[in-house]
């Protein structure tokens, strides 16, 4: 049993786009569906995200299935060029929990160029926020164009930051072609069900 024997879902995206909020929505749903879930937070320098997850998932996920991976100030490297330490953490998960079904790997906060190494993530979501500007999709960052699923979060903020969701939808369709994307508001949970449907269909039942 090792990292190759468990489904791995990567969640990347810029700092503040809502990756952590999405993980906090996803994990309880997956646990409720009967999956055993592990969570890895890639932090630049601290274990803060991992601590937040341990606290949030105290009744859902064993503490030893939540891990922080420090990336030496190179968060991209940890999920792309050299994912060794993430894979080692997953190996430890599978040794301790041989029935583990899925590991969520959250990146440490990226720019639009970040993608997941296909050996680390079988499927990866890239989370952007409408508050980062409505022009984010048309910049064609590899994270936006190559993610298996693009999550466009914080839709509730659109009117406050002059972001036009129609423009975002049009540009996203243009740069991603037939690849899927979902509008979400992780604060109230809208759209999260659709994200879970994609993960279910493409990863857990694949």
């Amino acid at each position: 049993m090792g990292y190759r024997d468990v489904a791995k879902v990567g969640i990347g995206g810029p700092v503040g786009s809502g990756k952590t909020a999405l993980v906090r929505r996803l994990v309880p749903e997956l646990v409720e569906d009967g999956y055993e879930v592990g969570v890895i937070a890639n932090d630049i320098m601290t274990q803060e995200d991992a601590d937040v997850f341990r606290e949030s998932f105290a009744d859902l996920v064993p503490a030893d299935l939540v891990e922080g991976v420090e990336t030496g100030a190179c968060p991209h490297t940890g999920i792309r060029e050299d994912p060794s330490m993430n894979l080692a953490a997953i190996d430890e998960f599978t040794e301790r929990h041989p029935d583990l079904d899925v590991v969520i790997v959250e990146s440490g906060g990226d720019n639009l160029a970040a993608t997941f190494n296909p050996e680390l993530a079988d499927y990866f979501l890239f989370v952007i926020s409408v508050a980062e500007g409505e022009d984010i999709p048309r910049k064609r960052g590899p994270g936006v164009t190559q993610a298996d699923l693009l999550v466009i979060n914080k839709t509730d903020l659109a009117p406050h930051v002059d972001a036009d969701l129609d423009v975002i939808e049009r540009d996203t369709t243009e740069v991603r072609g037939d690849d899927p994307f979902v509008f979400t508001n992780c604060k109230d949970g809208s759209g999260v069900g659709e994200v879970i449907s994609h993960v279910d269909r493409e990863v857990l039942f694949a």
Partner: protein
């Protein structure tokens, strides 16, 4: 092949992405191949990089580097400038020339700042005379008297630091390949072990092209990679540009 320890360390240093010459910003057309969905997997990548090695790095850059190295050893500045001029002439895409000359200029800056010199008098590296030649080349680049292409400056620095010609060519070709593999990994979706497999497979090609071209005359310097050049030119107007070339 036996290399002096100081020269060996120079090879490691010059071949390392840690060397601050901005190599990570160059893709030499690879980004456009990926933009146009021409590179899908490790096999495509291996085939493309082998073609770069056989058609550009070997017959063009290795010839330039080897002749620059020989010119530096002979302390022949005119010969060195002729090598640089020829490399400039046979490098077709504007962005390829710019990536090469920008990196060359940065390597010259390191040279002029004394950042490439060791402090160990017993390291076996060059005496003061050859250091003067390297400085003269760097000055000429600084004064825009010559383009200062990276393989040319690389050859001068390697000669100055006592790194033999073939080893210098191997080091340069290896760093070219790792640079492009790194770019591919950032642009596409390639696994880290897949990238290492491609690199291992290309080692024999690196060795073959360097041995084949290390003794070529400067007049033989040429490149023949029309599609790569077209990709390099289309990249100038690409909708997505993460790399300078």
């Amino acid at each position: 092949m036996e290399t002096e320890p100081g020269a060996f360390l120079t090879a490691l240093r010059l071949g390392d992405s840690f060397l601050p010459v901005g190599g990570y910003t160059a893709s030499y057309g690879l980004e456009q191949y990926i933009n146009e969905d021409r590179i899908e997997d490790g096999d495509d990548l291996r085939a493309l990089l082998a073609a770069y090695l056989r058609r550009v790095v070997g017959p063009c850059e290795t010839v330039a580097l080897a002749n620059a190295h020989a010119a530096a050893r002979a302390k022949d500045l005119d010969r060195l400038l002729a090598v640089d001029e020829r490399l400039h002439a046979v490098t077709m895409p504007r962005e390829f020339r710019e990536s090469s000359t920008k990196a060359g200029a940065k390597l010259c800056e390191l040279l002029l700042a004394g950042e490439l010199e060791g402090n160990d008098p017993d390291s076996g590296v060059a005496d003061g005379d050859s250091g003067e030649f390297a400085t003269a080349v760097a000055d000429a680049v600084d004064r825009d008297e010559t383009p200062g292409h990276y393989p040319v400056v690389f050859g001068v620095v390697a000669a100055d630091r006592g790194l033999p010609r073939l080893e210098a060519c191997l080091t340069h070709a290896y760093s070219f390949v790792t640079g492009l593999l790194g770019a591919a990994q950032r642009l596409g979706r390639f696994g880290h072990t897949e990238i290492q497999t491609v690199l291992a497979d290309l080692e024999s090609v690196i060795e073959a092209v360097c041995e084949r071209h290390v003794d070529d005359d400067v007049a033989a310097m040429t490149s023949f990679a029309p599609l790569a050049e077209i990709m390099g030119m289309r990249h100038e107007r690409a909708g997505r540009r993460l790399f300078m070339s």
